[in-house]
Symmetry: C2
Subunit: 320 residues, 2 copies
């Protein structure tokens, strides 16, 4: 198996990292808060597919304590990307050999080029998690449902990169943990496809304070979700990434069958954390503007979320 | 002075009705709930411009108890229009002489033709209140700020109707109470002009749980408000009603100077009452669709509000 280091021990990094270590991979975990407590108590994954307990995990308190790996699994929130890229630029050469790479398990689109710049000559993979899990305490992750990871490789000019040996290696390791892995030849198309669900559901769950099951039960929100999905499909098509016909209906039907689900953005919002406004809305809107694609409904959601995020983080003060 | 009957003793009808009676006009008040209490306690307007107390108001418990008047001041919420029009159709001939009319002091656009149908041969005036007041109890109104009323007449085919003698009569009576009255020759233009403020601010104050001073203090919401105002101006222009150049900037600047202000929709929402979703958003959007004007951002606000209103009134149940 490959050697891994997990940067970002939240609901996503914790889930995949603990499962990989539980299956026998060498996994280092970067844990900067509660480090001693995690070293003493271990790492715990509660899951309907089987609990995993790591009694003596390999925990690093800082980047300096990380050892060379084959894969850096970066699963921090996109809001921390500036800081993570800066640390990566300092440590990439030491931590990753020429055959190694970064697996960026994050929402959004277009972050991979920045990580590629921070780690010259190293492969950058995007990871798109279809996962319902949450961090319930230091070193403690609860897995609720799903878990599939789509993996695709970044290439210069955002061209489709095909299936690389590193992708195959990551897939083999994750499949050994019982995780479903989908390898995709086109990272940008995979990210737009995921955004087609994320762009309507994440903001609306926050703005309207509603779980996904409620949003797909009202004709007004169903119509709005359909409008936004059509805008996303148009923006993807303008980049040469035609999403499958009927995908919107398929995603709506799948969401109707899902259990009530609080989106990752809703979890951040309810916990008072900054939301991934730029990654999920700002970056796609910027790309759409560049390709000349109008996204008026998505723009409204972005403006509303930006307001809510700024107010919650203390940034909106009436002038009067 | 003219003789008045006030239908709808809320923040708007109460304010103008009590002031008219206080200035000596014969005013009947339709009070269907707490009728005996209001008869015993009287009607009270608290106002920085002077309190008015009517110790023995002329209170009718039902339409049957109303006497003939010159003006029916209808100031019910637009959500009650179906019921009010039905009662009006029964009583209009008895209550209003050929020279009399209805003054519809309500938000929205396009309700006057329905009232004209319910009272054939009687004049219908639209009243647009720029008023900050609230009902604080049975027969008790608190005036906070402003109070100007714009009055314009409905004419067949929604053509500009000019200034009618009834408008002049109403204006003279209200001015005698110290109220500013603006007479407008074009009802439809006056309603679009008012909607230019109402369509962005009312929904956003509910959706984002924010007073007007906060909405005009954040660049994202200012941008969104600007987009929506431009859509309203385009819809008005498509009906041959060009709103003044620079009106959007003027309204934003005026809102910045206003005290923190909860919109009428926000007051309804916070009190658990149905919101005027159709009057403020549904009707304008329908007119825009007829004139071929795209209002994508306004459509999003409408869909979000319709969802919130339906959920609050108990209408959204997850299918699962």
């Amino acid at each position: 198996m490959l050697r891994y280091a997990v940067i970002g021990m939240g609901a996503v990094g914790g889930f995949y990292g603990i499962r990989l270590a539980g299956a026998g991979a060498r996994v280092q975990f970067l844990v900067r808060h509660d480090t001693e407590r995690v070293r003493a108590d271990g790492l715990h994954l509660r899951s309907p597919e089987g609990d995993v307990r790591l009694a003596t995990p390999d925990v690093a308190a800082d980047w300096d304590e990380l050892e060379p790996s084959d894969v850096l699994l970066v699963a921090t929130k996109a809001t921390a990307n500036d800081e993570v890229r800066a640390r990566l630029a300092e440590h990439a050469t030491r931590l990753l050999g020429p055959g190694g790479g970064i697996l960026l398990a994050q929402n959004g689109i277009g972050a991979e080029p920045g990580f590629a710049d921070a780690a010259p000559g190293r492969e950058v993979l995007g990871g798109l998690a279809f996962l319902c899990s949450r961090r319930v305490g230091p070193g403690r992750i609860e897995h609720l449902d799903y878990g599939a990871l789509t993996v695709a490789a970044h290439a210069l000019g955002e061209q489709p990169a095909g299936i690389t040996p590193l992708m195959e290696g990551v897939a083999a390791d994750l499949r050994a943990t019982g995780t479903e892995v989908i390898l995709d030849e086109d990272l940008v198309r995979a990210r737009w496809r995921k955004l087609m669900w994320n762009i309507p559901f994440n903001p609306l769950s926050v703005i309207l304070d509603a779980d996904t099951d409620v949003l797909v039960s009202d004709p007004s929100t169903v119509q709005l979700i359909g409008t936004v999905m059509a805008e996303v499909a148009a923006a993807a098509a303008a980049e040469g990434r035609d999403l499958p016909v009927g995908l919107a209906e398929l995603l709506l039907a799948a969401t109707r069958r899902m259990a009530p689900y609080a989106t990752s953005m809703k979890l951040d919002w309810d916990a008072g954390r900054p939301m991934e406004v730029d990654a999920l809305l700002g970056a796609p809107l910027l790309r759409a503007a560049r390709s000349g694609t109008a996204m008026p409904a998505t723009t409204v959601l972005h403006q509303q979320l930006a307001f809510l995020d700024a107010r919650a983080q203390g940034g909106v003060q009436p002038a009067g």
